[in-house]
């Protein structure tokens, strides 16, 4: 029986009067890749942002239901949001490295936590860059600006940056939609490798991508979780008619 | 410990914001506190609408009409000069000039805007006024005419840069649509673009008005100094700002004259405050065509 690392239970979300998420109960299993697919606007990214409480930044947001990281209630009134966010890493659609050096980008999470020695930080940076398959390419220019990297490299840098916190879960929100095919392939392979150490939750617009790399697939439509299950099963014998329609491209 | 740092940072910035508001409130409070008492002595109507400014006489008079008229006349004069120059330059820069010319002119206009007013005042007093006196065979060159000239040039950068902003934010497709319908460039500019930008352009003129009426050094040095209602543009005047500046030194804190100057400041403040409010609303309307 595989552990559930992250989950939402009957989660509802409103942006002002808009009821955007309806009773979503999604389990995310440890050391597996879970993919979320569905047409634009179905709520996949919104659900992601519920887990690390990034939706809190939008005024007028209201939540009902629960979200748990392990046993901890994410929306507990006294929850330490900063701590939560360092345990759940996030990579965005458009690579967003800071205008700082490569080293300082990766070290950022540790610098804000404080209490790490220079050596520890250095080691962690190297470890994270290696895990993100970027070390060889940048090891000689750690102090150069992150903005000088290519798009694909920047995204791997963002992954390294998130990994430096040694998070329990790594969430990726359409991480390859702005990248070329080679970079995309690289990042897909990377996810397959990373999952052994970090649970992966990935939102993707690309159904084929979900099919390639995920263990579990969740299909969302208009704010509801319509279907969830092992990727093989969902792709070959979807339980819901709408899932089938989406997978076969009837709508997208 | 972390929460303490967070909370204190938030408190510090919040306090700074409060302090800024306090500054404004302080100014308003201060002005009214020192200035309102005069109205126990002199009625508001009499203060604003009679021409009887003799604060230092044995029987002091506090009719500020000449001062208010002085301010308005000089401001109007400056706008007569600044509007064609400023809006004209704005239209040229926004609609006709090439990008290189625009790149060179923008910093130049900014530079012009940065010239301290006292330097303009010197130029007016030492150079322009004697010229005016000679050209027009007058007793003195320190009058409405000279002051309006200098003040006008002073506010050209304000009107020009805001006007240029207003015109540039008119979307390109408006011009394209007009041209496609057969209008000439000139017709497009005057019949399509300018009307579309009218709120922003009006705002820029109002901004110029506010700057001009609040200007002290130039009028103090160039407008003359006679607290009289001018009968020609070659008469000297004494606007509100120069009155306050010139007479403040002579007053004793708390006496009637002192209070009357603060009362003038209240009037001046209210004029510029209202002018700013209107400008703000013009600029807001600009977004919704």
């Amino acid at each position: 029986m595989v552990d559930i690392q992250l989950q939402s239970l009957d989660l509802n979300l409103w942006f002002g009067k808009n009821h955007v998420l309806h009773d979503v109960s999604l389990p995310v299993y440890k050391h597996q890749v879970t993919a979320m697919i569905g047409p634009s606007g179905c709520g996949k990214s919104t659900l992601l942002r519920c887990f690390n409480r990034m939706n809190d930044l939008i005024p007028g947001t209201r939540i009902e239901g629960r979200a748990l990281l392990g046993d901890a209630d994410i929306y507990a009134p006294k929850a330490d949001v900063s701590k939560l966010r360092s345990r759940i890493g996030m990579v965005f659609q458009k690579p967003n490295p800071f205008p700082k050096s490569i080293f300082n980008n990766v070290a950022f999470g540790l610098q804000i936590q404080g209490g790490f020695s220079k050596a520890e930080i250095s080691n962690r940076v190297e470890e994270s860059l290696k895990a993100a398959w970027l070390w060889e390419e940048v090891k000689d220019r750690l102090s150069s600006s992150a903005m000088s990297l290519s798009g694909g490299q920047q995204q791997r840098l963002c992954i390294a940056r998130a990994l430096a916190n040694r998070p329990d879960v790594l969430m990726l929100d359409e991480p390859t939609s702005a990248l070329d095919p080679q970079s995309t392939a690289k990042i897909e392979e990377l996810c397959l490798e990373l999952k052994h150490n970090v649970t992966i939750l990935i939102v993707t617009h690309n159904v084929a991508q979900a099919g390639r790399i995920s263990d579990q697939t969740a299909f969302m439509y208009l704010g509801e979780l319509l279907e969830f299950g092992p990727t093989e099963r969902v792709f070959t014998v979807p339980a819901d008619k709408r899932t089938e329609a989406y997978l076969t491209g009837v709508f997208g | 410990m972390k929460t303490f740092k967070e909370k204190s940072f938030q408190t510090i910035t919040y306090t700074a914001a409060l302090f800024t508001v306090a500054c404004l409130l302080g100014i308003i409070f201060g002005l009214f506190r020192e200035g309102l008492p005069i109205f126990k002595h002199v009625g508001l109507k009499e203060f604003m609408f009679t021409n009887n400014w003799y604060p230092t006489h044995a029987e002091p008079g506090f009719g500020a009409l000449a001062l208010i008229v002085g301010s308005l006349v000089v401001t109007l004069g400056s706008l007569i000069i600044a509007i064609p120059l400023g809006l004209g330059a704005a239209i040229f820069l926004s609609e006709m000039a090439g990008p290189r010319l625009r790149e060179i002119t923008k910093p130049v206009i900014e530079l012009l805007a940065g010239i301290p007013s006292v330097v303009y005042g010197l130029f007016g007093m030492a150079f322009l006024a004697p010229l005016v006196r000679e050209w027009f065979d007058l007793d003195t060159g320190l009058n409405v005419f000279t002051a309006s000239l200098i003040l006008g040039v002073m506010i050209v950068p304000v009107i020009c840069s805001m006007g240029e902003d207003a015109l540039s934010s008119v979307p390109k497709n408006l011009r394209e649509a007009s041209l496609a319908l057969g209008a000439t460039r000139a017709e497009t500019i005057f019949k399509a673009v300018i009307p579309a930008a009218k709120n922003g352009l009006a705002g820029s003129v109002l901004m110029g008005f506010g700057r001009a009426i609040g200007e002290t050094m130039v009028v103090l040095m160039v407008a003359g100094g006679a607290a009289r209602i001018p009968s020609s543009i070659f008469d000297p005047v004494r606007p509100l700002t120069s009155t306050i500046a010139a007479e403040m030194g002579e007053t004793v804190m708390g006496d009637l004259h002192y209070q009357s100057l603060f009362a003038l400041a209240i009037i001046l403040f209210l004029i510029t405050f209202v002018s700013n409010l209107i400008t703000e609303s013009m600029l807001l309307k600009r977004g919704k065509k």
């Binding site: 966010r85 | 409130l25 809006l87």
Partner: protein, 270 residues
């Protein structure tokens, strides 16, 4: 239309030529670094330079932290909303208030009520309030121009608002904030009305020794020479010379700001 621009340019040229030609006659090393002599008929303007420098420095020491912190509050906290609205009204009103009113307020508040008299302190504080709205607006704009991506990335990594401001937003916005500060310096250095009754004096025998001393200042010196001076033949040229110094100061400050701004634009990588 082009004529309008040409006319304006013409005036500028005439103005500058006149200023430079008249002022240059008086300019010399002596002029800049010695004190006035002979009842203001000769000598230099050194004390006025020092005074202007001190007034400007003091006003910045007060206004920069206050303004930057206020801008940080506006862009990162902003609750309660009624305070944001009042604050904006306050900033806009202060920005449009005539400088003589600041001078009056400074006199009533700092010189009289708080008892600082005519002093560097009163003048500096008055100028600080004058500069405040400019600094707030500029800093707010600088911080808002930092792409939202950076703030999101920072928060998602577990940084608090405070850490995001100090480690990401401010460092990124710093060059723009600096430009704004420099522009305010130029503005403050040239102001006369706010210091007329709060700090400035036509003649002081020695350089100011403390915050409580009166100071000479470049803009006030020009004004006083022209209106209180009793020997125009010698004093008008000195006024021109002082003007030239002030102009050069202000122009070089503006130029520095413009140059920094365009080099920021060139180097920007996002």
């Amino acid at each position: 239309m082009a004529l309008m621009l040409v006319l304006t340019a013409l005036f500028l040229v005439l103005f500058l030529v006149r200023m430079f030609s008249q002022g240059a006659k008086v300019l010399s090393w002596d002029f800049l670094f010695t004190a006035p002599r002979d009842a203001m008929r000769a000598g230099g303007i050194y004390p006025a330079l020092v005074g202007t420098f001190l007034l400007t420095a003091l006003s910045m020491v007060v206004a920069l932290p206050l303004g930057i912190l206020t801008a940080i509050w506006l862009t990162n906290y902003g609750k309660p909303v009624w305070l944001v609205n009042i604050l904006r009204v306050a900033i806009n009103t202060l920005a449009g208030t005539p400088s003589i009113i600041f001078g009056l307020f400074g006199m009533a508040m700092f010189s009289n009520l708080l008892g600082f008299d005519i002093s560097l302190l009163s003048g500096g504080l008055t100028l600080a309030i004058l500069a405040l709205p400019v600094i707030i607006n500029n800093t707010e704009q600088a911080i808002s121009s930092v792409p939202e991506d950076f703030r999101e990335a920072s928060l998602a990594l577990g940084a608090t608002t405070r850490q995001t401001v100090s480690r990401v937003l401010l460092p990124t916005a710093l060059p723009s904030i600096l430009t704004g500060a420099i522009i305010s310096i130029g503005r403050v250095a040239g102001e006369t009305a706010p210091i007329m009754f709060t700090a400035a004096t036509f003649y002081s025998r020695q350089l100011p020794k403390g915050l409580g001393d009166e100071v000479m200042a470049l803009p006030y010196h020009i004004y006083a020479l022209m209106t209180e001076g009793t020997h125009p033949t010698e004093q008008v040229p000195i006024a021109y010379g002082t003007s030239l110094v002030l102009l050069l100061l202000v122009i070089s400050i503006s130029a520095a700001a413009i140059w920094i701004r365009s080099s920021i634009r060139r180097k920007r990588q996002w």
